[in-house]
Amino acid sequence: MTDTPIDKIARATPAGMARRIRGFSDRTIAWIFVAPTIFLLLAVNIFPLIWTIRLSFTDFRVNRPNREVEWVGLRNYERILTDPDIWATMQATAHFLIWTIVLQVLIGFALAYLINKNFRGNDLWTTIIVFPMMLSPAVVGNFWTFLYQPQIGLFNYVIAFFTGVDPASFSMIGDVNLAPWAIVIADTWMWTPFVMLICLAGLRSIPDSIYEAAECDRASKWRQFWTITVPMVLPFLMLAVLFRGIENFKMFDLVVQLTGGGPGNTTTLTSIDLKREAFEKWRTGYSSAYAVILFVTVFGLASIYVKALNKVKQR
């Protein structure tokens, strides 16, 4: 065996230094790589969350920093849960959530089903349909107020054109009965493509062989649809509902630009109400408790839902 000078040096180097020369150990690298991410998330997400929980037991107000801060225990929570206005807000949120999800699932699934028929040029049209969801909700929401203008707005004009009513006779964002629907329409326009894309992924994951087998068994197209297509797409659809549910529970930008929560409080969703309490009335302690209640609601509902989703997946 030849003994080159390099081999001699290598043998003479202590093990610890050799490792340092060769590079850090995998474990060290793992920590170097993960630590900054975890640190940033702790600083910007977890630390504020803990702070929010702490503030929620006080009557602190940001606009009066020099005032003595008092511990009020659970009084903030008690006041929120017994406040009828908050329940009205929750109702507005529920109306918004339920109808946007129903419409988006129906239209989104139908579109995906049609696109999956692979007609010529379906790629191009899919991309066009996806546009709204990639855009800034605040900027687009602001422009929807223009489309909803009585008389001059495009939306009112089109409705008037097809139904024959006077375009100046109704105001989508000024009428207490119509405003909740105005935000549902705008959100459905914006987010239906999201449900569509996920359904499309589901439809494309079904192997042709299953349909071929069903065809051999002389199952009708109708039966194939209900016994193959729907059950196979269901986990995907439920995933889409989960994402949309969480997103719309947090909904702020689109609606605040569109209606600002009005007229009255008819479209005041929880996030908009929270923003008013925290950044207009500056009731920091109270709104912190409000925020905590919202977290618990989202996490609770989401985890129950994920359990149900896993059951569907296992079938």
């Binding site: 170097i32 696109i115 028929k117």
Partner: protein
């Protein structure tokens, strides 16, 4: 052509095609209306019935980038002849230009904050994703779930303490503050997506590199990074689009120096009431880049918007 039972008939294809194209036309109409309104004159934009055919003008764009004041005849006479085309357009509306508007600045802020946070997010996210993909990290599943769950919080709810924290650190209304904030928000998506992409690169490549005498770091940036380039690029565009579109944090935490375009565009008003052509012009300039990215990104869309939960 071979016969297949799963291939739809031509008639079904036609019906499906017509329905989808119909929906696409309806859905794109508001966007086309934004672009069209940007090129309308003030009276044309609020005409009844809404004008589909009109004489295009750059009024909206001139109004977007300038501050103007309504001018009396004396002022017009005193100002003399318009020196260039945009002054001419302002004069035609009976106004004189008093200076540049803030739109340019706000747009630049969006660019700085968007690209800054995306770059930082990619550096941190790729490293973390690599570690999660290749090493045994203690509590890995818990950490990954924790990273995902940070996305569930309503922005307004975390905004209160972030507002207080930023005020204490002097980060309120600064570019750095917004970059850090958007990076943190985007990290959850990036780590999940990038981990999926890196998982798909065979470990054997790195092992071969390590045997050839590369260190871990070298194996990471000479072998893994080039392989993951497509994944990193499409993740980056998703982060960029999020930061570009974000409104809630921007409106609460910025007001002057670091304000981005989304909170600014809705506040554009003209010399007499809401100037819709200017708003539409601002929106067009702001939205078109995203549409271009969407076209470029269409193959990778799905993975990004579903947190990697749906794979092709």
């Amino acid at each position: 052509m071979s016969f297949s039972v799963t291939e739809p008939t031509n008639r079904i294809k036609w019906v499906a095609g017509i329905l989808v194209v119909g929906y696409a036309l309806v859905t794109i109409a508001p966007l086309l209306w934004i672009v069209a309104t940007g090129f309308k004159s003030g009276p044309d934009s609020i005409a009844y019935p809404p004008k589909v055919l009109f004489e295009p003008t750059l009024e909206g764009y001139v109004n977007l980038f300038t501050d103007r004041t309504r001018a009396t005849q004396d002022m017009l006479d005193a100002a003399g002849a318009p020196r260039n085309w945009y002054e001419q357009i302002a004069r035609d509306q009976g106004t004189v230009i008093t200076g540049a508007s803030r739109y340019g600045e706000r747009f630049l802020n969006s660019v700085i904050i968007g690209f800054g946070s995306t770059a930082l997010c990619m550096i941190l996210g790729t490293a973390a994703a690599y570690a999660f993909s290749r090493f045994r990290v203690p509590l890995k599943d818990d950490l990954l779930f924790f990273i995902l769950s940070t996305r569930m919080m309503p922005p307004i709810a975390v905004a209160i303490p972030i507002f207080l924290m930023f005020r204490n650190l002097g980060l309120n209304d600064t570019h750095l503050g917004m970059i850090l904030l958007y990076t943190a928000v985007n990290l959850s998506l990036s780590v999940w997506l990038l981990k999926g992409f890196i998982d798909e690169i065979p470990v054997e490549y790195e092992e071969a590199a390590l045997i050839d005498g590369y260190t871990r770091f070298q194996a990471f940036y000479k072998v893994v990074l080039p392989q993951a380039a497509t994944g990193i690029a499409s993740t980056a565009i998703f982060c960029l689009i999020f930061a570009w579109n974000e409104y809630a944090f921007a409106v609460l935490l910025t007001s002057g120096t670091a304000q981005t375009a989304p909170p600014f565009i809705p506040t554009i008003i003209g010399t007499s009431g809401k100037d819709w052509p200017a708003v539409a012009a601002g929106a067009t300039i702001f939205l078109v880049p995203v549409m271009v990215f969407t076209i470029l990104l269409r193959k990778h869309l799905l993975r990004g918007i579903t947190f990697g939960a749906v794979r092709k």
